[in-house]
C-alpha cells in the first residue's frame, strides 16, 4: 500500500493531520515527564559531591540537547522550504523557533542555578553554557528577522537563509568557544568523576524523550495557528469551524 506522503505537504491536509496527532504526542510527553521526574527524584541516589543540587541535570541536559536539535530541524525545514518552495516547510520552521528558543532559555537558567551552588557564581563562562547563549542569540535573530519582514514569502526565504548559515556556523562557534574556554582555564561543568548511576541515566533519557515529544506537540499546535493565519483567504480555511 503506497502512502502518498506528499498529500500532507499541503497546508490544507496537514492542518487536520496535525490536529489529530497532537494528543498522541502530548499525553505520552506528560506521562514520561512524570516517570522521569519520579526516577530522578525518588530512585536516583544523592550524589556524593553535588548532594541534591545535581538533580537539576535531569532538566538542564535534555533542554540543552533539545535546543540544539530543534535548531537543526528548524534549519532543515527552512532548507526544504527554500529548495522545494513548499510553504508548509517554512511554516514548520517558524513554528519550531519559539520552542527552541525557550529550551535554550531553560538550559541557560537551569545551568545558572546549577552553577551557583556548585561553582559559586551565577554565570560561569563554561564552553557549553556560552555556546548555548550564542544559540539563543541565533534563535532570536531568526525570530526577529521574520518579524521584521512584512511579505511572508520574503520572510520565509530570508529567515531560511539565515537559519542555514546559522547551522553551518554552530559547529564553528562551538569549537571556537571550547578553545577559548580551555585557554582561559574556565571551569567545565562535569560530573564528579565517577560514571553515573543507572537511575540517573534512565531519568535523563526519559526526560529527554519527554521534552522531545512535548516539542513536537507544541510545534504541531503552533503550526496549525500559523496555517490559519497565512491561508486565511483560501476556501478550505473559510470552512474551518473548529
Amino acid at each position: 500500500m503506497a502512502i502518498n506522503w506528499f498529500k500532507y505537504s499541503a497546508p490544507s491536509t496537514f492542518y487536520g493531520l496535525a490536529g489529530k496527532l497532537i494528543p498522541w504526542f502530548a499525553w505520552p510527553a506528560a506521562i514520561l515527564f512524570g516517570i522521569g521526574f519520579y526516577i530522578g527524584f525518588f530512585v536516583a541516589p544523592t550524589d556524593a559531591v553535588q548532594s541534591e543540587a545535581y538533580r537539576i541535570i535531569f532538566i538542564h541536559v535534555p533542554a540543552s540537547i533539545l535546543s540544539m536539535f530543534i535548531y537543526l530541524i528548524m534549519a532543515g525545514y527552512a532548507a526544504l522550504g527554500l529548495i522545494f518552495k513548499t510553504r508548509l516547510s517554512a511554516m514548520m520552521a517558524s513554528a519550531l523557533a519559539p520552542t527552541g528558543a525557550l529550551f535554550a532559555f531553560i538550559s541557560l537558567w537551569t545551568g545558572a542555578l546549577w552553577g551557583k551552588p556548585m561553582w559559586g557564581a551565577w554565570w560561569v563562562w563554561d564552553a557549553r553554557l556560552t555556546s548555548e547563549l550564542i544559540l539563543l542569540f541565533l534563535y532570536l535573530g531568526f525570530i526577529a528577522l521574520q518579524a521584521s519582514i512584512e511579505d511572508p514569502r520574503r520572510a520565509d526565504r530570508a529567515s531560511a537563509l539565515l537559519a542555514i548559515i546559522g547551522s553551518v556556523n554552530v559547529p564553528i562557534i562551538y569549537y571556537s568557544v571550547q578553545w577559548w574556554n580551555t585557554l582561559h582555564q574556565g571551569s567545565t561543568i562535569k560530573f564528579s568523576g565517577t560514571s553515573m548511576h543507572v537511575a540517573m541515566q534512565q531519568s535523563m533519557f526519559i526526560m529527554l524523550v519527554a521534552c522531545w515529544l512535548y516539542a513536537i506537540a507544541i510545534a504541531l499546535a503552533r503550526v496549525r495557528s500559523i496555517i490559519l493565519e497565512r491561508e486565511s483567504n483560501t476556501q478550505w480555511v473559510k470552512e474551518v469551524r473548529e
Partner: protein, 55 residues
C-alpha cells in the same frame, strides 16, 4: 517518605525547585500562548467570514 526533607533538597531547594519551577512555568505559558494565538486566529477568521457573508 519525608516530605519536608524532599522539599528542602538538602539545602538546595531554591536551586532545584527554582529550576523545575521555571521549566514548568515556561511550558505552561508556552501552551497558554499557543492556545491564545489559535483563539485569535479563529476569531479573525470568523470576522472575515462574516464580512464576506454580509456582502
Amino acid at each position: 517518605m519525608n516530605w519536608s526533607e524532599f522539599f528542602a533538597m538538602n539545602g538546595y531547594a531554591f536551586y532545584v525547585w527554582g529550576s523545575y519551577g521555571l521549566t514548568l512555568l515556561v511550558f505552561l505559558s508556552e501552551i497558554a500562548t499557543v492556545r491564545h494565538r489559535r483563539k485569535l486566529a479563529l476569531r479573525q477568521l470568523r470576522l472575515i467570514n462574516e464580512s464576506g457573508d454580509a456582502e
